[in-house]
Assembly symmetry: none
Homo-oligomer: 222 residues x 4
DNA sequence: TATGAATGAGTGTTCATTCAT
DNA sequence: GATGAATGAACACTCATTCAT
């Protein structure tokens, strides 16, 4: 009614508003937790009205789901999988781990939110797994490892699938568990990364006589 | 008068009620999430009045903290660390992983609750890490690995600390991430465990010449 | 340009849309109650935009008022009042009641809505009564009854106005209260209608003092 | 924290609070309509906290149901039915109508609320009818009328059940429709009551010859 | 003109917490 | 000490309405 009535009416751009809400939600939830993040706070952060969370996402839960669905990004893995093979398995592991750690860290807020919720909500967990478990990524990784086997660099007796799984596990450990949960410093994470890669290389390298010879000596200590 | 008071459950009840509340809280929170778990539901599950959560734990948050503190259990790691060395590194890894996976699964509810919260609450995360990162466990594990090195079974050039960290990482991956988050089946988890152990053994085994020379000295430490 | 505008539905649509909105409102309100009926649901049912409720009716309340005003339909009562007199008062009552019950049932949704609201909203009730209480209908009915008196068929000592009121009361009872509120079956309603008509006939045809003296003659008519 | 912190903590009397809430609800809903009556306003009027509406009545709807259930009062009809017979049928009708009108007017707020809602809510209507349709009252009334028949004062050929229904209909018309909906003045209501009673008496009195004689003259006026 | 994006005031409801008993 | 009645602040969500396009 008075002069100061100019309440910015926000751009009338449905898509932009939806994205502003999703970005705001990630920020606020990462800070306050899912239930701690009020729709009011999210709307304020997005610079729009609370009601739009209901209209566009069918409520707060829908907003979380939309964030989860956005996690379904096929592009960055493809990027890595398309690169030429490395000169050694250790180097391959190093680059794969480094790539993963970086990608995870870029999306760490979203991942924290989504995993935190998945741990306590069965339905959400199921949906999360449908999106998170990337069989294409795993099989892409297996293909690469298979090429090392073919090149005589990796032990043909090993289960390539398990090796791929181990690499994925280590990347999640370094990129998420250490960095986001245990708060390991970047320096230490990098050192671990280097040495995990080294060890992984040794673990699946074509057997030098060592592995065998040692097992021949097979006497248990003590 | 004084006689009649004997009828009422007294003093010792306090401790029993506290524990009933904590157990109820774990159950209810695991089911509904932390904020989804109402004090009413917890009190009902514990068979007492809501007000006691206030009195005994200084509120709901205090109850969660009490649960976290209970995680600080020094006993089961000690159990494993006290066992005799294995006949091979792969076997050592196998037993360590199996032990961890079992222990984690026994406490999976509490761990899920606590990690879910730690991911989104900085203060809680700090407290969690003070309790969760068990330097004693890690150094115990390093000691065991060192004895394999001393026995010529492990590569003395490798960083024992990193190897221990890798083993811990793999155990968390298998015991928690796969079992609780990714819902990997027990069968597949066991298969992964076997092969991770195998690969870990190869990763840190002594290389060719070294292995031999040390293994010649082959007397078990201790 | 001028040709193209013909493609767009124009001018006459305004009235059609208004009526679509009113019809939709009756349907939706009858189903969900007045406050339960959202403008969105009404607009959807009418196949147009919510904003038109604002533009055309000046808001939701205005839409209700428009519905109420439509109740002001002079035609059907006239229809009945224009018919020739019946051969008996019971028959007159029967036909009048049947006519009313039918008319009420045709408009039962609108009536339910409007009465439900009138019961709890003084202003609305006043407006409702201005429209609902049809003095013309009542006096038309009185005229008819007067003609039965004139014909010697009805007791001239009775208050014709009261008799008309009684007939109107009974028609409302049968047509609305029984059918819409008490959910009396159509069969039972019809049986009541027959006998109410019969009793009404006896009530106003008997000469005053007769009650007792005639009872001495004790033969039942019919 | 300051001096003025003394927020009356209300008597700790569950039953009293429940009744205060129900009374407040009747008042507020009668004034504002069901949906217009906010739980906040009801709680304020009752002098307690909103939360108690949820706790005690399971929400606003439950509060309305509780009000409806209170309508289930067997006592006042019994009062009337226990009285001695009157000297005439007209007098019987007069007293019955007067009694009903008075009882309805005493509870008019509750009845308005409950009927207003029943008109637009099928489930509520069903529940309302289970409580409102008092077969015991109707059969009590029939018994009384039967005694007039036995005394030779009422026509034995008439359907006593229908006569009772008519009386109940007229009482509802006078007591509720006229008084609460049409806002007929008390004076006019009383005049109608007197004459309705008179007419009812004539309607069911033992038959007179008039009926016959008038029907004999059977030519329709006009 | 008609639309639909946007809003803000206000809803019923929840819940950890307090406190008289 | 233990209870449960009571609370108030805060919640997600609704909806009639406004207004730029």
């Amino acid at each position: 009614m008075s002069v100061a009535t100019v309440n910015k009416p926000r751009a009338r751009d449905r898509q932009a508003t939806k994205e502003a809400l999703m970005a705001a939600a990630v920020t606020v939830i990462a800070e306050c937790g899912y239930e701690g993040a009020t729709t009011r706070a999210i709307a304020d952060a997005a610079g729009c009205s609370e009601a739009l969370i209901q209209r566009y996402f069918n409520g707060k839960e829908g907003l979380l789901l939309a964030i989860l669905d956005k996690e379904d990004d096929r592009s960055d893995a493809a990027l890595f999988l398309g690169r030429p093979l490395c000169s050694s398995l250790a180097q391959e592991a190093r680059e794969m781990l480094a790539h993963s750690v970086e990608k995870i860290s870029e999306r760490s807020d979203r991942i924290r939110i989504v995993i935190s919720r998945a741990l306590l909500d069965e339905a959400f967990k199921a949906r999360f797994n449908r999106i998170w478990i990337r069989e294409d990524v795993k099989s892409g990784l297996e293909s690469r490892l298979a090429r090392y086997v073919y090149a005589g660099m990796a032990d043909p007796d090993l289960d390539i699938g398990v090796a791929a799984e181990m690499l994925l596990s280590l990347s999640f450990e370094l990129g998420f568990i250490h960095r986001e949960l245990l708060q390991t410093s970047p320096d230490r994470t990098n050192r671990l990364l280097e040495q995990f890669a080294e060890m992984f290389g040794r673990a699946i390298s074509a057997p030098l006589s060592t592995g065998r010879s040692v097992s021949e000596s097979g006497d248990a200590p003590r």
